[in-house]
Symmetry: D2
Subunit: 433 residues, 4 copies
């Protein structure tokens, strides 16, 4: 088997040790020769910490993978077969701004949903398209595995404005598989889930364990059991689930429990402890731990960071592509009619068959109105967001925000956008003209 070069853009992320651990675990079947960790000058210190920890990890595992840290993205991309993007343009400081400006203006502030996700997309898309230009030139056959949030919007921007082979990943689906496997005490491979939706807005319309449908059990049963760690948990009422006829994901809270979430966020805002604050704190602690020269494994503490099974999802897709396994993974890909009530050219998050040369979505059955309506309006917002990011058109940006179900008016959209624009100026040169 050919040896494999993997480039990780945003390699200084606190998540990277997860990925390193994942690669170590499958080294015998994947034969990874080089992992390049790329970051920007502002991230050099963190990159260095990660580089050293990674080196200690592969050494301890006696794994013949070479770890190379660099600030030169092009060196890393050249000849890579997989390019993993986990970047955070503007770093956690800008995420904090996204959250605070949103909440201050009375709307939910969240990394991927609503005005927070919108601004993150605007900062990120131009950088991602730059990366794609490099890939096109230096590794034209490579697969781009995008983890950068909002993963659906970022992936859609790449699908529409580049011809790099891209797929968007999220740990939401794998968490569901894990959760149900635990609940039913079976292997993950005995769980089959029918998803419909878009990133961070997926619904489970049916669920099978060893070929038997379990959806009715779940709809009628306990409800607080399938949450990711990094989003607040309020639980779903049984009456809600039974009338929805589907299981929502954790991010649905922002839509189905808007007032409760907002109330909670206002409290955090007043206490200077929004999710961004928490994450900053966790990150700081993590990097302290990472620096320990005796640490040569992924530390337990990383699990608090959220993003559980991110690396497993990444390794799974790398394996599937590299080994042409034709397995099913739940991924962000071009719709092409798989969800017939959405446009063909948008990104969706559904079950796909992964082959080494192509990733093909499975056809999704007709969508119930209670699911369809919300999915369509959020997708239209996402389309406008992509368009705003690549054109720098202020009007398109304002319409995107106004259309979003969490923004109550054009006035509010404008106020939020203007405040955000001010602090994001350096990241949004297109909007300065």
């Amino acid at each position: 088997m050919e040896s494999l070069k993997i480039a990780v853009i945003g390699g200084g992320s606190s998540y990277t040790p997860e990925l390193i651990e994942g690669i170590i675990n499958v080294q015998d079947i994947l034969n990874v020769s080089e992992i390049w960790l790329v970051d920007i000058p502002e991230g050099q210190e963190k990159l260095s910490v990660i580089e050293n920890l990674s080196k200690r990890m592969v050494e301890k595992a006696k794994c013949p993978v070479k770890i190379i840290a660099t600030l030169d993205r092009r060196d890393a991309i050249k000849g890579a077969k997989f390019i993993v993007t986990q970047i955070r343009v503007g770093q956690l400081k800008m995420r904090r701004n996204d959250e605070y400006i949103s909440i201050k203006n009375g709307v939910i502030g969240q990394e991927t949903t609503g005005s927070g996700g919108f601004m993150k997309a605007l900062r990120t898309i131009p950088v991602m398209l730059d990366i794609c230009r490099d890939i096109k030139e230096l590794a034209p056959d490579a697969w781009l595995l995008n983890f950068t949030n909002p993963a659906g919007i970022i992936t859609e921007a790449v699908l529409k404005h580049s011809d790099v082979k891209v797929v968007g990943l999220c740990n939401n689906p794998i968490n569901f598989y894990k959760k149900f496997a635990r609940t039913y005490n079976v292997d993950m491979k005995d769980v089959s889930i029918n998803f419909t939706g878009i990133n961070h807005l997926i619904w489970i319309t049916d669920l099978y364990v060893k070929g038997r449908s379990k959806i009715e059990d779940i709809l009628k049963g306990k409800s607080d059991s399938y949450e990711a760690k990094n989003i607040p948990s309020f639980g779903w009422e049984s009456e809600f689930l039974q009338s929805l006829r589907a299981i929502p994901c954790g991010y649905h809270k922002y839509y189905y429990q808007t007032n409760q979430v907002l109330k909670e966020q206002l409290k955090q805002y007043r206490g200077n402890e929004t999710r961004a604050d928490q994450v900053q704190k966790v990150e700081k602690e993590l990097f302290e731990i990472y620096k320990n020269p005796n640490l040569n494994e992924k530390p337990e503490a990383l699990e608090q960071r959220g993003g559980a099974y991110y690396s497993e999802a990444a390794i799974n897709i790398i394996k599937s592509i590299h080994l042409d396994t034709k397995e099913i993974h739940t991924l962000n890909v071009r719709n092409n009619g798989a969800i017939s009530c959405l446009p063909n050219d948008v990104s969706i998050e559904v079950n796909c068959v992964v082959e080494s040369h192509q990733i093909t979505p499975l056809q999704v059955k007709e969508t119930a109105p209670q699911i369809r309506g919300l999915m369509q309006v959020v997708k239209a917002y996402e389309e406008l967001t992509v368009e705003a990011a690549v054109t720098g058109n202020r009007g398109t940006a304002l319409q995107a925000l106004t259309l979003h179900p969490l923004i109550p008016s054009f006035d509010r959209a404008k106020k939020i956008f203007d405040e955000m624009l001010e602090v994001n100026e350096q990241y949004l040169p297109l909007f300065n003209c």
Copy 2:
């Protein structure tokens, strides 16, 4: 030309004199022989006032139309060519409840939009389907002209659950024609408007005066000029219009200016002077005027009631059908693919060619995302509302409300629904099982 029998269900409405005046004005070309005014026992007193005024009006006009008032709906329907429905199940008292319960729970309370319109639809649909069964039996070739609000939802219920020939009417479109004709000082027939949307949620995507597009003028120009009288006017910002690339209707305020409208409504609520209160007052005054035995014309005061040009819209469609004029009117009809991003079987409000035997929508070009997303989510809510009304399924009702962009959570939806259910018990027998 054959003589014409018209039945008006809800004939005791304060709007009826408008309709009578309209019929008088076109009597020479329509040859109406009988107008039957139907109402329910609770409306008998008002019906009697309207009957007498109507008789004085036709007498004064020397118009040979016979006015017959009755509480027997079947007598009125039998042999009619047109059946006009302008009913208000639960009367203004229930409208007041719709508004107060909504506002009390922190969401917009409005006759046709949001939870108010939802509850009105639930009360009205079973009665409309009863009326349709009578029409099917007693006047199977008749056209049902539905003015009853929420007109789009009610019309969709009839389209899906009856095979009566139905068309839904609203005065929104005709008001736009009138407005632009005045603005540009031309005849209404020199104005051509491209609409897309659904009832009370229509957008003007282009506008021609004598064949020249004026949309750019409007988008850049003054904005406070195209409002109906019975909805609050806040005006649109030029930046909003230019980024929307379309002219919204008055009801869009509830979506694009949610917080401002809600603030205003809360003030009205505290002062016991919501729109329902105002209308009740206006109605009371109107009926006092109507009772005057010397009054034999439509009084000026009626214009304050809102609903301007309602009767002109009604008369226009009656004329077009009866005389097979093949004219274009903007009507609520079955989609059939005219708006390709909506399901085929829903009602839409678009330009249609009216012939005596069929009403055919004109094809609408592709819809921009900023329009598409809102239209789709509100339409999905409407589909669920129709389904809830005909099945009495509580879960469907809750999902309809939860999906509505103006309702911030499932909890709120449930609270509103339960409070409304309590006061509407007698009108919603299906939900009592």
Copy 3:
């Protein structure tokens, strides 16, 4: 009212006197100031004959229209409001080749359908796109009224590869209106026809006379009554019509009665008297008549030429556009979803509302499989034909012919194409590379 310049490309056609007569008849309401007749050098003699006859006609009618004949297309187009195209690239000689090569190879040879229409399209499309470039430069607001056959394919080429305002016309629909008006002894305006289809392949799915459906009468009744003059008449069996549940047009014979038509054509072929031969003879006779300096009216003999009511169709659409009548005409326009089982960007022939600034198709209801299948396969052939014409791709041309229901194999397609290519070399420079 502004005065009107009309340019007729292919002005030397024997049909032109019809058009002149038509314009004379509506001169009081249209106020046409100039008619420019354009032709190519090879057609100069005929052009001169038509010019002189036209001048005598307007003189006799005391009509103040100026007739100008020219070989300079650009002069004619400059400032025109309507440009009528009725060109025949390669003249009747090439039409004769189309027919003979087809029939010799055992397939139907016809001006617009099958391999004959295919080759005519290939010759014509590049010329039409040249004309469109002139229009774009010299009369950017003009309407292009295309009569050139195959009208659907030519119109589709313009719709896809130019942004000139274009509409395609055929006399098939108006002939149906005339026929049914005569059959039922009513005015044409009392006849309402629901068409679905594409040019020369339209089906009547319902038919109303004064608002009453007559389709059942027609399906069960005599069948030989709705034929155009220039296509062979074989009549339809009642059992055929009743099972089709629609009335086909005359050109459907080539599909529904292929063997009978082919047998007839083989006889004509052997006798050197195919339709092209007949038309050549009729044309020769017509021009002899036209030359008569005493002739100052459209001669009776022209009616034998076929194309009845062509000029009426042309004048009607000019009137509708110029006077903004918002009337319904059956025209070739961009689909945009009006027929939902065909692609959005193809031309269809359906009822449209004609305004001065836009022509909008009416939505067509779902199509029955017996209609849908044939319409879809012929449309796919047309799409390939347009693509072949603009790219000069031989493979696309062969696939177009192979897909056509009248061509029995790829071998036959290739043989026909190669023989046609040889005699058409000068008209198909793109295919010579």
Copy 4:
């Protein structure tokens, strides 16, 4: 693992030994306990021969499967997990009629395509729906694996008129996998094929061997290499393949090489040696061989019968469902939008993921016009055929035939249908009313 009962309807078929061999080969992983072979009284003798051979085969293999032959279909179905249908209503005698009547009338006579396949569908569908009623009652959770031709039409009839879990199978796809695996000397699992189409009309739009696209090689290369044994081989020209941009299946010959095939068939017809005659001869010989009491294996001679790898396809799907392998197979299933230019409710033949509880088609990318047109017209014919079979409507039957690309006119359709109806009277009771 639970033990497995399989019922084979049409168990007396000469193909059955293939299936028995297949089951023997996977017995260790499938644990089949009983194979029930069902046939009708007319087939009792053949059934008995097959029964005895099957018993000798399992005995030789020391395989603990019980073979039960019966004329009582209900006994066989009761409690089965898989029901395989390989019936031939009217036996080979009626197939011979299908071929002779077609060819005599100048059109291709073929078991599954054109008028031959049409008549076979009409005979078969009512019987299949009867079988489905039994399954619904006696084995409601069973999967129906339909091999009966025309497999696409029969499967569509079951999908539309029954709620049995059904999937249609053909050996066309597996033959392509085998062929390309041999051509490239790789394992079948290293071959990945993108199919689009409907049964016996599938196109390969791309082809990958170990993740590398090979389609260009094939399009430019030798062409006579991917034919099934039971259809005539004429080879494809390189120019044809390169312009089609896809690889057709063997049955495409009837459409792309109609005249050549017809010429060949007329020769066979005159010599009394059409495919039905050949098959009758082969069958007779096979059954002589089967009777040999010393034979206890599938004889070599069976391979001449055509249908290569039929049993492998059947065993693969049984394995996939029973063991929930989530593998990809190319199957006939409900479209649901996977091929977006076909209706949702028709059967298509595409790659599907097979799980124990559901079979889901993979989304197919947009179809090129040269493929789309033929696929759409044949599918519309199939829809009409299903409708004719379940309604007995003569008009629908005539329209189905008339629409078929191989039938040149309504007259011919009627003549063929009437002649076929006469000899098929006993099998088509619905058409006798």
